[in-house]
């Protein structure tokens, strides 16, 4: 595999945009990434799109060429990848693999989701399609319910507390308030987080990420060409995708995500680094418990210590290992198909030193972890200064 670098990034704001359609969001992000990487549409040799449920949310299918052509990208492969909330992480994995293998040079990867045009019960039902429809979902499981059951078991096995869960939400809202593109730029207190409306016990509305519209894109190419496009390249040191059972009741231990552990192990090995070397991370906090488990599975803290570490401030912006300096899915927003590439954009911004008020100090090596469903897909990416 030849080394691959990110030349450009582009993000829309995340939020509820009643007057924006799916395509216009994706096009905005894609064009920003091209502009940021000083490339034009005619140079793009393949378009990879991550999108979870555009056809269910909007009715529109055949999304990749639909979006690519609106950006002026035609005559090249344009393909959609679906892996639940890891859809664009998976698109990125496949795009980097193709560029690394020498199939293409200049590739645009985008992620998009348009969710807010549907009612919350309808969104809940569409999202539940990432679970096992014949088992857990038929019984009445929603994604908050699945992660609530994970949280309950984590609390039972490791003594994790409601305050520890809430501390993740408080921290991510503090960070998101500093992010001009975040969906909910609002600081919340521990008291508010604990007193939120109950969604699925023990998770309140403040433990859950947001239902958002948004898109993100990255322009990638071989490292040896990136200097022709930008003076701010960021190297893709590793990207690994792994899988596991979809149904929660088929997993031996639901307090850990086996796919996150295996993809992280692969990524650390490929990059030649250890968990302790990672300066900062964007992790998949679709629920507060998911961030606590992520920092355990990624090896940032020992198993069972994610809760105490979070409450003690270890993951804060100026803590020992900043996690979700962007505000995370919790505050930045979670347009599911855009999330994976959005995280990569956020890590690139940090490495370039362009994160403004959210800038972390140890910024030379960053990690992005994108989770699909209740852990059936995981993509871990490690990025570093080129």
């Amino acid at each position: 595999m030849r080394p691959v670098a990110v030349a450009g990034i582009g993000k829309t704001a995340f939020g509820a945009f009643p007057d924006r359609d799916l395509r216009s969001l994706a096009v905005e992000a894609g064009q920003k990434a091209l502009e940021n990487g000083h490339a034009n549409a005619s140079q793009v040799e393949a378009f990879y799109l991550g999108n979870f449920a555009g056809p269910s949310f909007t009715g529109q299918n055949h999304l990749a060429p639909y979006i690519a052509s609106a950006m002026g990208i035609t005559g090249v492969p344009a393909t959609r990848f679906e892996a639940a909330c890891a859809s664009s992480g998976s698109a990125f994995f496949h795009a980097v693999s193709a560029v690394g293998a020498g199939l293409y040079d200049v590739v645009l990867v985008a992620g998009v989701e348009k969710m807010t045009s549907q009612s919350t019960p309808k969104v809940t039902e569409i999202l539940a399609g990432a679970g096992d429809l014949c088992g857990e979902v038929r019984a009445g499981a929603t994604f908050p319910a699945l992660f609530a059951m994970i949280a309950r078991r984590h609390m039972y096995q490791y003594g994790t507390t409601r305050e520890q869960l809430a501390s993740v939400a408080v921290k991510n809202h503090q960070n998101g308030a500093k992010n001009p593109l975040a969906h909910m730029r609002k600081v919340i207190t521990m008291e508010q987080a604990l007193a939120g409306k109950m969604i699925a016990e023990p998770l309140t509305v403040y433990d859950c990420s947001l239902i958002s519209d948004g898109a993100a894109a990255v322009l990638i190419m071989p490292l040896d060409r990136v200097g022709d496009f930008t003076d701010k390249p960021v190297r893709v040191l590793a990207v690994a995708q792994t899988s596991d059972n979809v149904a929660l009741d088929e997993k031996d231990d639901i307090t850990t995500f086996r796919a996150v552990k295996t993809s992280a192990e692969k990524a650390y090995k490929l990059a030649g680094v250890k968990a302790a070397d990672i300066g900062f991370a964007e992790v998949h906090d679709c629920f507060t418990i998911a961030e606590i488990i992520a920092i355990e599975d990624l090896g940032f803290v020992p198993k069972g210590e994610g809760g105490p570490y979070s409450l003690a401030g270890g993951t804060c912006l100026h803590g020992e290992r900043p996690v979700n300096a962007s505000g995370g899915l919790k505050s930045k927003g979670h347009p599911v198909g855009a999330t994976g590439v959005g995280q990569i954009c956020d890590v690139v911004e940090q490495i370039r030193g362009q994160a403004g008020e959210r800038q972390v100090k140890r910024n030379s090596l960053g990690l992005a972890q994108n989770l699909g469903g209740s852990g059936a897909t995981s993509v871990v990416t490690i990025l570093g200064a080129a």
Binding site: P121, T124, E125, G135, E136, R138, G140, A200
Partner: protein, 76 residues
């Protein structure tokens, strides 16, 4: 249909924000039940009195299937 027998609550939650199909059921208790032999199934736990709950480690017994979903009740 098969009687699933008795089992133990492996994990549980009470759902307040349901999918469209279950808006009339809330709140309801959802649980993963570990059956004899170790197989786990996801189902509902039902009670005679409103507000009752089963917790991790509680013993439950199979009551019936409704629309292919196993319903359990707490063992007395």
């Amino acid at each position: 249909m098969t009687d699933l027998g008795a089992g133990t609550i492996y994990t549980e939650t009470v759902v307040y924000s349901p999918p469209e199909a279950y808006v009339n059921d809330v709140p309801y208790q959802l649980a993963i039940v570990e059956l004899a032999g170790g197989r786990r199934v996801t189902g509902r736990v039902i009670f005679e009195k409103a507000g009752e709950r089963a917790q991790i480690g509680d013993r439950v017994e199979f009551a019936e299937f409704r629309n292919n979903v196993p319903f359990f009740k707490k063992q007395l």
